[in-house]
Protein backbone atom coordinates (compact mmCIF):
# COMPACT_ATOMS: atom_id res chain seq x y z
CA UNK A 1 0.00 0.00 0.00
CA UNK A 2 2.93 2.32 0.58
CA UNK A 3 3.62 2.49 -3.14
CA UNK A 4 0.04 3.48 -3.77
CA UNK A 5 0.11 6.17 -1.09
CA UNK A 6 3.25 7.93 -2.29
CA UNK A 7 2.16 7.79 -5.88
CA UNK A 8 -1.18 9.31 -4.96
CA UNK A 9 0.50 12.54 -3.95
CA UNK A 10 0.99 13.29 -7.64
CA UNK A 11 -2.74 13.91 -7.65
CA UNK A 12 -2.00 17.26 -6.00
CA UNK A 13 0.14 18.57 -8.87
CA UNK A 14 -2.69 20.15 -10.94
CA UNK A 15 -4.21 21.92 -7.96
CA UNK A 16 -0.77 23.15 -6.93
CA UNK A 17 -0.26 24.59 -10.41
CA UNK A 18 -3.74 26.11 -10.24
CA UNK A 19 -2.99 27.77 -6.90
CA UNK A 20 -0.01 29.56 -8.46
CA UNK A 21 -2.47 31.63 -10.56
CA UNK A 22 -4.35 33.40 -7.73
CA UNK A 23 -1.22 33.59 -5.54
CA UNK A 24 0.86 35.19 -8.28
CA UNK A 25 -1.97 37.57 -9.20
CA UNK A 26 -2.43 38.70 -5.63
CA UNK A 27 1.30 39.16 -5.01
CA UNK A 28 1.64 41.14 -8.26
CA UNK A 29 -1.31 43.35 -7.31
CA UNK A 30 0.32 43.91 -3.91
CA UNK A 31 3.70 44.79 -5.48
CA UNK A 32 2.14 47.16 -7.99
CA UNK A 33 0.22 48.94 -5.24
CA UNK A 34 3.51 49.62 -3.47
CA UNK A 35 5.86 50.72 -6.23
CA UNK A 36 6.51 53.62 -8.56
CA UNK A 37 9.24 53.14 -11.15
CA UNK A 38 10.63 50.26 -9.16
CA UNK A 39 10.90 52.15 -5.87
CA UNK A 40 8.95 51.28 -2.73
CA UNK A 41 6.26 53.79 -1.86
CA UNK A 42 3.19 54.13 0.33
CA UNK A 43 2.01 57.09 -1.70
CA UNK A 44 -0.95 55.27 -3.22
CA UNK A 45 -2.32 54.03 0.09
CA UNK A 46 -1.89 57.51 1.47
CA UNK A 47 -3.74 59.05 -1.48
CA UNK A 48 -6.39 56.36 -1.17
CA UNK A 49 -7.16 56.94 2.48
CA UNK A 50 -7.14 60.71 2.04
CA UNK A 51 -9.68 60.50 -0.75
CA UNK A 52 -13.24 61.12 0.38
CA UNK A 53 -14.50 59.29 -2.68
CA UNK A 54 -12.73 56.10 -1.64
CA UNK A 55 -13.66 56.34 2.03
CA UNK A 56 -17.33 56.86 1.18
CA UNK A 57 -17.09 53.98 -1.26
CA UNK A 58 -15.45 51.70 1.31
CA UNK A 59 -18.10 52.44 3.93
CA UNK A 60 -20.86 51.91 1.41
CA UNK A 61 -19.33 48.63 0.20
CA UNK A 62 -18.88 47.22 3.69
CA UNK A 63 -22.39 48.18 4.67
CA UNK A 64 -23.97 46.76 1.52
CA UNK A 65 -21.96 43.54 1.62
CA UNK A 66 -22.61 43.00 5.32
CA UNK A 67 -26.35 43.62 5.02
CA UNK A 68 -26.68 41.35 1.99
CA UNK A 69 -24.70 38.51 3.56
CA UNK A 70 -26.48 38.68 6.89
CA UNK A 71 -29.96 38.85 5.34
CA UNK A 72 -29.19 35.98 2.94
CA UNK A 73 -27.94 33.88 5.82
CA UNK A 74 -30.91 34.58 8.12
CA UNK A 75 -33.51 33.99 5.40
CA UNK A 76 -31.62 30.92 4.15
CA UNK A 77 -31.46 29.38 7.64
CA UNK A 78 -35.14 30.09 8.31
CA UNK A 79 -36.17 28.53 4.98
CA UNK A 80 -33.89 25.51 5.37
CA UNK A 81 -34.86 24.73 8.93
CA UNK A 82 -38.59 24.89 8.28
CA UNK A 83 -38.52 23.06 4.96
CA UNK A 84 -35.47 20.78 4.79
CA UNK A 85 -37.57 17.60 4.81
CA UNK A 86 -39.47 18.90 1.80
CA UNK A 87 -36.25 19.90 0.09
CA UNK A 88 -35.06 16.30 0.09
CA UNK A 89 -37.44 15.59 -2.79
CA UNK A 90 -36.63 16.62 -6.29
CA UNK A 91 -39.22 19.18 -7.46
CA UNK A 92 -39.02 21.63 -4.51
CA UNK A 93 -35.24 21.61 -4.73
CA UNK A 94 -35.43 22.40 -8.41
CA UNK A 95 -37.66 25.43 -7.78
CA UNK A 96 -35.38 26.77 -5.06
CA UNK A 97 -32.30 26.42 -7.23
CA UNK A 98 -33.87 28.06 -10.25
CA UNK A 99 -32.12 31.43 -9.63
CA UNK A 100 -28.78 29.62 -9.83
CA UNK A 101 -29.43 29.09 -13.52
CA UNK A 102 -28.89 32.80 -14.13
CA UNK A 103 -25.73 34.88 -13.72
CA UNK A 104 -25.90 37.51 -10.98
CA UNK A 105 -26.28 40.45 -13.33
CA UNK A 106 -29.14 38.78 -15.22
CA UNK A 107 -30.93 38.42 -11.89
CA UNK A 108 -30.04 42.07 -11.34
CA UNK A 109 -31.82 42.91 -14.57
CA UNK A 110 -34.80 40.93 -13.30
CA UNK A 111 -34.85 43.13 -10.19
CA UNK A 112 -34.88 46.20 -12.45
CA UNK A 113 -37.71 44.73 -14.51
CA UNK A 114 -39.79 44.01 -11.40
CA UNK A 115 -38.96 46.80 -8.98
CA UNK A 116 -37.81 49.89 -10.91
CA UNK A 117 -39.97 53.04 -11.01
CA UNK A 118 -41.70 51.84 -14.17
CA UNK A 119 -41.32 48.17 -13.31
CA UNK A 120 -43.91 45.43 -13.07
CA UNK A 121 -44.63 45.96 -9.37
CA UNK A 122 -45.15 49.68 -9.81
CA UNK A 123 -47.42 49.07 -12.82
CA UNK A 124 -49.51 46.51 -10.97
CA UNK A 125 -49.87 48.80 -7.97
CA UNK A 126 -51.07 51.56 -10.27
CA UNK A 127 -53.58 49.28 -11.97
CA UNK A 128 -55.00 48.17 -8.66
CA UNK A 129 -55.15 51.80 -7.54
CA UNK A 130 -52.76 51.52 -4.60
CA UNK A 131 -50.46 54.05 -6.22
CA UNK A 132 -51.68 57.07 -8.15
CA UNK A 133 -48.59 57.68 -10.31
CA UNK A 134 -45.24 56.13 -11.11
CA UNK A 135 -43.44 58.29 -8.56
CA UNK A 136 -45.25 56.65 -5.66
CA UNK A 137 -42.95 53.68 -5.22
CA UNK A 138 -39.70 54.38 -3.34
CA UNK A 139 -36.62 54.13 -5.53
CA UNK A 140 -35.46 50.53 -5.19
CA UNK A 141 -32.98 50.28 -8.04
CA UNK A 142 -30.00 52.52 -8.83
CA UNK A 143 -30.53 54.18 -5.44
CA UNK A 144 -27.93 55.82 -3.23
CA UNK A 145 -28.56 53.48 -0.29
CA UNK A 146 -27.73 50.33 -2.25
CA UNK A 147 -31.17 48.73 -1.86
CA UNK A 148 -31.21 47.36 -5.40
CA UNK A 149 -27.82 45.72 -4.92
CA UNK A 150 -28.87 44.22 -1.60
CA UNK A 151 -32.17 42.90 -2.98
CA UNK A 152 -30.40 41.27 -5.93
CA UNK A 153 -27.73 39.65 -3.79
CA UNK A 154 -30.12 38.39 -1.13
CA UNK A 155 -32.45 36.95 -3.75
CA UNK A 156 -29.58 35.24 -5.52
CA UNK A 157 -27.67 34.04 -2.44
CA UNK A 158 -30.55 32.53 -0.45
CA UNK A 159 -30.56 29.44 -2.71
CA UNK A 160 -26.79 29.21 -2.21
CA UNK A 161 -27.24 29.30 1.59
CA UNK A 162 -29.85 26.54 1.30
CA UNK A 163 -27.44 24.53 -0.86
CA UNK A 164 -24.74 24.81 1.80
CA UNK A 165 -27.00 24.10 4.78
CA UNK A 166 -29.12 21.29 3.36
CA UNK A 167 -26.57 18.50 3.91
CA UNK A 168 -26.01 19.71 7.47
CA UNK A 169 -29.69 19.67 8.34
CA UNK A 170 -30.08 16.28 6.67
CA UNK A 171 -27.30 14.93 8.89
CA UNK A 172 -28.80 16.01 12.23
CA UNK A 173 -30.17 12.89 13.89
CA UNK A 174 -33.91 13.13 14.65
CA UNK A 175 -33.20 11.71 18.12
CA UNK A 176 -31.79 15.08 19.13
CA UNK A 177 -35.11 16.74 18.39
CA UNK A 178 -36.95 14.03 20.32
CA UNK A 179 -34.65 14.62 23.26
CA UNK A 180 -35.39 18.34 23.32
CA UNK A 181 -39.13 17.65 23.02
CA UNK A 182 -38.98 15.05 25.80
CA UNK A 183 -37.32 17.51 28.11
CA UNK A 184 -40.04 20.05 27.36
CA UNK A 185 -38.04 22.33 25.06
CA UNK A 186 -39.80 24.46 22.47
CA UNK A 187 -38.82 25.17 18.89
CA UNK A 188 -36.45 27.98 19.91
CA UNK A 189 -34.70 25.70 22.39
CA UNK A 190 -34.42 23.12 19.65
CA UNK A 191 -32.69 25.67 17.45
CA UNK A 192 -30.22 26.90 20.07
CA UNK A 193 -29.21 23.54 21.52
CA UNK A 194 -29.43 21.16 18.55
CA UNK A 195 -29.24 23.03 15.27
CA UNK A 196 -26.96 25.95 16.18
CA UNK A 197 -23.87 23.91 17.12
CA UNK A 198 -24.31 21.83 13.98
CA UNK A 199 -24.74 24.66 11.54
CA UNK A 200 -22.38 27.27 13.02
CA UNK A 201 -19.21 26.26 11.13
CA UNK A 202 -21.02 26.04 7.80
CA UNK A 203 -22.84 29.31 8.53
CA UNK A 204 -19.57 31.11 9.13
CA UNK A 205 -18.03 29.58 6.01
CA UNK A 206 -21.08 30.58 3.95
CA UNK A 207 -21.08 34.08 5.40
CA UNK A 208 -17.42 34.54 4.49
CA UNK A 209 -17.97 33.32 0.93
CA UNK A 210 -20.98 35.60 0.37
CA UNK A 211 -19.41 38.57 2.15
CA UNK A 212 -16.16 38.47 0.21
CA UNK A 213 -18.04 37.98 -3.04
CA UNK A 214 -20.53 40.82 -2.50
CA UNK A 215 -17.76 43.10 -1.25
CA UNK A 216 -15.61 42.68 -4.33
CA UNK A 217 -17.84 41.70 -7.26
CA UNK A 218 -18.21 44.22 -10.06
CA UNK A 219 -21.19 43.17 -12.16
CA UNK A 220 -24.24 43.75 -9.95
CA UNK A 221 -23.17 47.15 -8.55
CA UNK A 222 -22.24 48.29 -12.07
CA UNK A 223 -25.79 47.46 -13.13
CA UNK A 224 -27.79 48.53 -10.09
CA UNK A 225 -25.65 51.11 -8.32
CA UNK A 226 -25.39 54.89 -8.63
CA UNK A 227 -22.33 57.00 -9.31
CA UNK A 228 -22.07 58.15 -5.70
CA UNK A 229 -21.49 56.34 -3.45
CA UNK A 230 -20.23 53.49 -5.59
CA UNK A 231 -18.89 50.07 -4.58
CA UNK A 232 -15.10 49.76 -4.29
CA UNK A 233 -15.07 47.21 -7.13
CA UNK A 234 -16.69 49.69 -9.53
CA UNK A 235 -14.35 52.46 -8.41
CA UNK A 236 -11.28 50.24 -8.83
CA UNK A 237 -12.41 49.08 -12.25
CA UNK A 238 -12.80 52.73 -13.29
CA UNK A 239 -9.35 53.54 -11.96
CA UNK A 240 -7.89 50.51 -13.71
CA UNK A 241 -9.49 51.33 -17.05
CA UNK A 242 -9.74 55.11 -16.62
CA UNK A 243 -8.26 57.73 -18.87
CA UNK A 244 -5.23 58.31 -16.70
CA UNK A 245 -2.57 55.69 -16.10
CA UNK A 246 -1.67 57.45 -12.85
CA UNK A 247 -4.81 56.07 -11.24
CA UNK A 248 -3.95 52.44 -11.96
CA UNK A 249 -1.89 51.86 -8.78
CA UNK A 250 -4.87 53.25 -6.85
CA UNK A 251 -6.97 50.42 -8.24
CA UNK A 252 -4.40 47.92 -6.95
CA UNK A 253 -4.24 49.61 -3.56
CA UNK A 254 -8.03 49.62 -3.24
CA UNK A 255 -8.39 45.94 -4.14
CA UNK A 256 -5.53 44.96 -1.82
CA UNK A 257 -7.21 46.88 1.02
CA UNK A 258 -10.41 44.94 0.38
CA UNK A 259 -8.46 41.67 0.33
CA UNK A 260 -6.83 42.54 3.66
CA UNK A 261 -10.24 43.20 5.22
CA UNK A 262 -11.43 39.78 4.05
CA UNK A 263 -8.22 38.14 5.31
CA UNK A 264 -8.60 39.66 8.79
CA UNK A 265 -12.24 38.60 8.91
CA UNK A 266 -11.33 35.05 7.88
CA UNK A 267 -8.64 34.81 10.55
CA UNK A 268 -11.03 36.15 13.17
CA UNK A 269 -13.64 33.56 12.32
CA UNK A 270 -11.05 30.80 12.50
CA UNK A 271 -10.16 31.99 15.97
CA UNK A 272 -13.82 32.20 16.88
CA UNK A 273 -14.30 28.56 16.12
CA UNK A 274 -11.54 27.09 18.19
CA UNK A 275 -9.56 24.53 16.31
CA UNK A 276 -10.87 21.58 18.27
CA UNK A 277 -14.48 22.55 17.90
CA UNK A 278 -14.00 23.16 14.19
CA UNK A 279 -12.50 19.71 13.73
CA UNK A 280 -15.19 17.98 15.76
CA UNK A 281 -17.90 19.67 13.74
CA UNK A 282 -16.38 18.82 10.41
CA UNK A 283 -15.99 15.23 11.46
CA UNK A 284 -19.61 15.04 12.47
CA UNK A 285 -21.18 16.62 9.45
CA UNK A 286 -19.20 15.05 6.69
Amino acid sequence: MKWYKTKAFYLFIPSFLFLLIPMYGLVQAFIQSLSTDGALTFEFYQRLFESDRFLASLGFSLQTAFTSSLLSLVIGVLLTRSCYQLLESYAPRLIVWLPMLFPHFVWGYMVILLLSESGVLSQLLQVTGVLSDSGGLPTLTRDASGLGIIITYVWKEVPFVILMLLPVYASIKPEYYDLVKNLGGNSFRQFTSVEWPHILPVMIETFLIIFSFTLSAYEVPALLGTTFPEMVSVLSYDWFYGSSWDDRPLAFAAMISISLIILVLTLLSYLLLSKRQWKAMRGRLK
Binding site: P14, G25, L113, Q123, I262
Partner: protein
Protein backbone atom coordinates in the same frame (compact mmCIF):
# COMPACT_ATOMS: atom_id res chain seq x y z
CA UNK B 1 -45.53 19.87 8.50
CA UNK B 2 -48.62 20.41 6.32
CA UNK B 3 -48.67 24.10 7.20
CA UNK B 4 -44.96 24.30 6.44
CA UNK B 5 -45.49 22.55 3.15
CA UNK B 6 -48.10 25.01 1.98
CA UNK B 7 -46.02 27.96 3.19
CA UNK B 8 -42.99 26.59 1.42
CA UNK B 9 -44.73 26.18 -1.91
CA UNK B 10 -46.24 29.67 -1.70
CA UNK B 11 -42.88 31.24 -0.82
CA UNK B 12 -40.82 29.24 -3.29
CA UNK B 13 -43.25 29.92 -6.10
CA UNK B 14 -43.44 33.62 -5.32
CA UNK B 15 -39.71 34.12 -4.86
CA UNK B 16 -38.10 31.74 -7.32
CA UNK B 17 -40.57 30.39 -9.85
CA UNK B 18 -42.62 33.53 -10.51
CA UNK B 19 -39.69 35.83 -11.42
CA UNK B 20 -38.49 33.32 -13.98
CA UNK B 21 -41.98 33.00 -15.43
CA UNK B 22 -42.34 36.80 -15.56
CA UNK B 23 -39.05 37.01 -17.41
CA UNK B 24 -40.25 34.39 -19.89
CA UNK B 25 -43.61 36.10 -20.34
CA UNK B 26 -42.00 39.51 -20.88
CA UNK B 27 -39.68 38.05 -23.49
CA UNK B 28 -42.70 36.73 -25.38
CA UNK B 29 -44.81 39.88 -25.22
CA UNK B 30 -44.43 43.57 -25.94
CA UNK B 31 -43.05 45.86 -23.26
CA UNK B 32 -45.64 46.06 -20.52
CA UNK B 33 -47.65 49.19 -19.82
CA UNK B 34 -50.32 47.85 -17.49
CA UNK B 35 -50.95 51.26 -15.94
CA UNK B 36 -52.43 52.49 -19.22
CA UNK B 37 -54.84 49.59 -19.26
CA UNK B 38 -53.01 47.60 -21.90
CA UNK B 39 -53.01 43.83 -21.68
CA UNK B 40 -50.49 41.31 -22.88
CA UNK B 41 -49.67 41.44 -26.56
CA UNK B 42 -47.70 38.41 -27.60
CA UNK B 43 -44.86 38.67 -30.11
CA UNK B 44 -41.65 36.96 -31.06
CA UNK B 45 -39.90 40.05 -32.44
CA UNK B 46 -37.73 40.32 -29.33
CA UNK B 47 -36.14 36.99 -30.15
CA UNK B 48 -35.75 37.76 -33.84
CA UNK B 49 -34.14 41.14 -33.04
CA UNK B 50 -31.86 39.48 -30.51
CA UNK B 51 -30.90 36.56 -32.72
CA UNK B 52 -30.32 38.73 -35.79
CA UNK B 53 -27.53 40.51 -33.95
CA UNK B 54 -24.31 38.98 -35.31
CA UNK B 55 -22.45 39.98 -32.14
CA UNK B 56 -24.77 37.77 -30.12
CA UNK B 57 -23.89 34.64 -32.06
CA UNK B 58 -20.14 35.15 -31.95
CA UNK B 59 -20.36 36.03 -28.23
CA UNK B 60 -22.42 32.89 -27.61
CA UNK B 61 -19.77 30.87 -29.42
CA UNK B 62 -16.98 32.41 -27.34
CA UNK B 63 -18.91 31.90 -24.12
CA UNK B 64 -19.62 28.24 -24.88
CA UNK B 65 -16.03 27.62 -25.97
CA UNK B 66 -14.59 29.26 -22.88
CA UNK B 67 -17.17 27.54 -20.67
CA UNK B 68 -16.32 24.13 -22.12
CA UNK B 69 -12.58 24.73 -21.65
CA UNK B 70 -13.08 25.91 -18.08
CA UNK B 71 -15.32 22.92 -17.39
CA UNK B 72 -12.80 20.41 -18.77
CA UNK B 73 -9.91 21.78 -16.67
CA UNK B 74 -12.23 21.93 -13.66
CA UNK B 75 -13.12 18.26 -14.06
CA UNK B 76 -9.47 17.24 -14.32
CA UNK B 77 -8.28 19.29 -11.33
CA UNK B 78 -11.44 18.58 -9.32
CA UNK B 79 -11.30 14.81 -9.77
CA UNK B 80 -7.57 14.49 -9.06
CA UNK B 81 -7.51 16.78 -6.04
CA UNK B 82 -10.87 15.62 -4.72
CA UNK B 83 -9.64 12.03 -4.80
CA UNK B 84 -6.40 12.94 -3.07
CA UNK B 85 -8.15 14.90 -0.33
CA UNK B 86 -10.75 12.20 0.26
CA UNK B 87 -8.43 9.18 0.30
CA UNK B 88 -5.13 10.40 1.73
CA UNK B 89 -4.54 11.32 5.32
CA UNK B 90 -1.40 13.25 6.08
CA UNK B 91 -0.07 15.89 8.42
CA UNK B 92 -1.31 19.38 7.69
CA UNK B 93 -4.33 18.24 5.68
CA UNK B 94 -6.71 20.85 7.19
CA UNK B 95 -4.21 23.49 6.14
CA UNK B 96 -4.03 22.17 2.56
CA UNK B 97 -7.84 22.09 2.42
CA UNK B 98 -8.03 25.70 3.61
CA UNK B 99 -5.43 26.86 1.06
CA UNK B 100 -7.24 25.12 -1.78
CA UNK B 101 -10.53 26.80 -0.85
CA UNK B 102 -8.91 30.20 -0.26
CA UNK B 103 -9.28 31.47 -3.87
CA UNK B 104 -13.06 31.68 -3.29
CA UNK B 105 -12.43 34.38 -0.71
CA UNK B 106 -9.78 36.42 -2.54
CA UNK B 107 -11.35 39.09 -4.79
CA UNK B 108 -10.96 37.75 -8.30
CA UNK B 109 -10.85 41.33 -9.59
CA UNK B 110 -7.62 41.88 -7.63
CA UNK B 111 -6.15 38.69 -9.10
CA UNK B 112 -7.12 39.62 -12.66
CA UNK B 113 -5.63 43.11 -12.30
CA UNK B 114 -2.46 41.65 -10.81
CA UNK B 115 -2.12 39.07 -13.58
CA UNK B 116 -2.79 41.54 -16.39
CA UNK B 117 0.82 42.66 -16.93
CA UNK B 118 2.09 39.10 -16.62
CA UNK B 119 -0.46 37.93 -19.18
CA UNK B 120 0.71 40.63 -21.60
CA UNK B 121 4.31 39.63 -21.05
CA UNK B 122 3.77 35.94 -21.81
CA UNK B 123 1.31 36.69 -24.62
CA UNK B 124 -1.83 35.37 -22.96
CA UNK B 125 -3.60 38.74 -22.71
CA UNK B 126 -6.42 39.15 -25.27
CA UNK B 127 -6.50 35.38 -25.87
CA UNK B 128 -9.09 32.70 -25.14
CA UNK B 129 -6.55 30.73 -23.12
CA UNK B 130 -5.89 33.73 -20.88
CA UNK B 131 -9.62 34.16 -20.24
CA UNK B 132 -10.02 30.44 -19.52
CA UNK B 133 -7.15 30.62 -17.01
CA UNK B 134 -8.66 33.55 -15.12
CA UNK B 135 -12.10 31.88 -15.11
CA UNK B 136 -10.52 28.93 -13.30
CA UNK B 137 -9.93 31.02 -10.20
CA UNK B 138 -13.57 31.39 -9.05
CA UNK B 139 -14.58 27.88 -10.19
CA UNK B 140 -11.90 25.30 -9.31
CA UNK B 141 -12.27 25.51 -5.49
CA UNK B 142 -15.96 24.60 -5.78
CA UNK B 143 -15.22 21.68 -8.10
CA UNK B 144 -12.58 20.31 -5.76
CA UNK B 145 -15.00 20.52 -2.86
CA UNK B 146 -17.77 18.77 -4.77
CA UNK B 147 -15.51 15.92 -5.92
CA UNK B 148 -13.98 15.58 -2.47
CA UNK B 149 -17.46 14.94 -1.08
CA UNK B 150 -18.26 12.58 -3.94
CA UNK B 151 -15.13 10.47 -3.32
CA UNK B 152 -15.84 10.44 0.39
CA UNK B 153 -19.31 9.08 -0.30
CA UNK B 154 -17.88 6.40 -2.60
CA UNK B 155 -15.84 5.14 0.31
CA UNK B 156 -12.40 3.56 0.30
CA UNK B 157 -13.50 -0.12 -0.19
CA UNK B 158 -14.90 0.84 -3.58
CA UNK B 159 -11.54 2.39 -4.50
CA UNK B 160 -9.35 -0.39 -3.07
CA UNK B 161 -11.13 -3.21 -4.83
CA UNK B 162 -10.06 -2.34 -8.41
CA UNK B 163 -6.53 -1.81 -7.13
CA UNK B 164 -6.47 -5.30 -5.66
CA UNK B 165 -7.89 -6.70 -8.88
CA UNK B 166 -5.02 -5.10 -10.75
CA UNK B 167 -6.74 -2.30 -12.62
CA UNK B 168 -4.76 0.76 -13.63
CA UNK B 169 -5.91 4.17 -12.35
CA UNK B 170 -7.31 5.34 -15.68
CA UNK B 171 -9.34 2.19 -16.20
CA UNK B 172 -10.57 2.51 -12.65
CA UNK B 173 -11.56 6.13 -13.27
CA UNK B 174 -13.71 5.35 -16.30
CA UNK B 175 -15.27 2.09 -15.15
CA UNK B 176 -15.88 2.79 -11.46
CA UNK B 177 -15.35 6.34 -10.31
CA UNK B 178 -16.97 8.38 -13.08
CA UNK B 179 -20.10 6.21 -13.43
CA UNK B 180 -20.65 6.42 -9.68
CA UNK B 181 -20.02 10.17 -9.52
CA UNK B 182 -22.49 11.32 -12.14
CA UNK B 183 -24.38 13.63 -9.73
CA UNK B 184 -21.12 15.37 -8.83
CA UNK B 185 -20.22 15.78 -12.51
CA UNK B 186 -23.63 17.33 -13.14
CA UNK B 187 -23.26 19.79 -10.25
CA UNK B 188 -19.78 20.80 -11.36
CA UNK B 189 -20.97 21.30 -14.95
CA UNK B 190 -23.75 23.53 -13.85
CA UNK B 191 -21.84 25.60 -11.32
CA UNK B 192 -18.78 26.06 -13.53
CA UNK B 193 -20.69 27.19 -16.59
CA UNK B 194 -22.89 29.64 -14.69
CA UNK B 195 -19.91 31.16 -12.85
CA UNK B 196 -17.94 31.43 -16.09
CA UNK B 197 -20.92 33.11 -17.79
CA UNK B 198 -21.20 35.59 -14.91
CA UNK B 199 -17.77 37.14 -15.35
CA UNK B 200 -17.80 40.56 -16.96
CA UNK B 201 -14.97 42.50 -15.30
CA UNK B 202 -12.23 39.85 -15.31
CA UNK B 203 -13.08 38.79 -18.87
CA UNK B 204 -12.83 42.42 -19.96
CA UNK B 205 -9.48 42.87 -18.22
CA UNK B 206 -7.79 39.70 -19.48
CA UNK B 207 -9.69 39.50 -22.79
CA UNK B 208 -8.78 43.14 -23.42
CA UNK B 209 -12.03 43.81 -25.28
CA UNK B 210 -10.99 41.39 -27.98
CA UNK B 211 -12.62 38.30 -26.53
CA UNK B 212 -16.27 39.36 -26.53
CA UNK B 213 -18.33 37.01 -24.37
CA UNK B 214 -22.07 37.23 -23.69
CA UNK B 215 -21.91 39.50 -20.60
CA UNK B 216 -20.01 42.06 -22.69
CA UNK B 217 -22.87 42.19 -25.15
CA UNK B 218 -25.47 42.21 -22.36
CA UNK B 219 -24.24 45.31 -20.53
CA UNK B 220 -24.35 47.78 -23.46
CA UNK B 221 -27.70 46.29 -24.55
CA UNK B 222 -29.24 47.59 -21.32
CA UNK B 223 -29.01 51.20 -22.51
CA UNK B 224 -30.54 50.64 -25.93
CA UNK B 225 -32.86 47.65 -25.93
CA UNK B 226 -36.41 47.52 -24.55
CA UNK B 227 -37.50 45.17 -21.79
CA UNK B 228 -38.81 42.49 -24.18
CA UNK B 229 -35.41 42.15 -25.82
CA UNK B 230 -33.60 42.27 -22.48
CA UNK B 231 -35.90 39.57 -21.12
CA UNK B 232 -35.25 37.45 -24.21
CA UNK B 233 -31.52 37.98 -23.67
CA UNK B 234 -31.88 36.88 -20.03
CA UNK B 235 -33.65 33.69 -21.11
CA UNK B 236 -30.88 33.15 -23.69
CA UNK B 237 -28.38 33.24 -20.83
CA UNK B 238 -30.12 30.39 -19.04
CA UNK B 239 -30.16 28.32 -22.23
CA UNK B 240 -26.37 28.00 -22.28
CA UNK B 241 -25.93 26.08 -19.02
CA UNK B 242 -28.87 23.92 -20.09
CA UNK B 243 -27.29 23.22 -23.50
CA UNK B 244 -23.94 22.29 -21.98
CA UNK B 245 -25.74 20.21 -19.38
CA UNK B 246 -27.40 18.19 -22.14
CA UNK B 247 -24.03 17.83 -23.87
CA UNK B 248 -22.41 16.50 -20.70
CA UNK B 249 -25.38 14.20 -20.19
CA UNK B 250 -24.80 12.73 -23.67
CA UNK B 251 -21.08 12.30 -22.92
CA UNK B 252 -22.00 10.53 -19.68
CA UNK B 253 -23.97 8.00 -21.73
CA UNK B 254 -20.68 6.91 -23.28
CA UNK B 255 -19.38 5.72 -19.92
CA UNK B 256 -19.33 1.95 -19.42
CA UNK B 257 -22.23 0.24 -17.63
CA UNK B 258 -24.67 3.00 -18.56
CA UNK B 259 -28.21 1.94 -19.23
CA UNK B 260 -29.33 3.85 -22.30
CA UNK B 261 -32.51 5.82 -21.59
CA UNK B 262 -34.31 4.23 -24.54
CA UNK B 263 -33.61 0.71 -23.22
CA UNK B 264 -35.06 1.18 -19.78
Amino acid sequence: MIRNKRLFYVLATLLFLLPTLILLLQSLSETWRFQTGEGLRFQLDSYSVLLSDPKLWSATGWSIGIGAGVLFINLVIGIMTGKALATLSFKGKPFVEAIILAPILIPVLAIAMGLHLFMIRIGLADTVLGVIIIHLVPTVPYSIKIFQNAYRQLGSPMLEQPLILGSNPLHQLFTIELPLMKPAIRSVTFLTIVISLSQYAITAIIGGGRIITLPMVFFPFLDTANSSIMAAFSIWFSMIPLALYVLVEILLLLLPYTIMPWRK
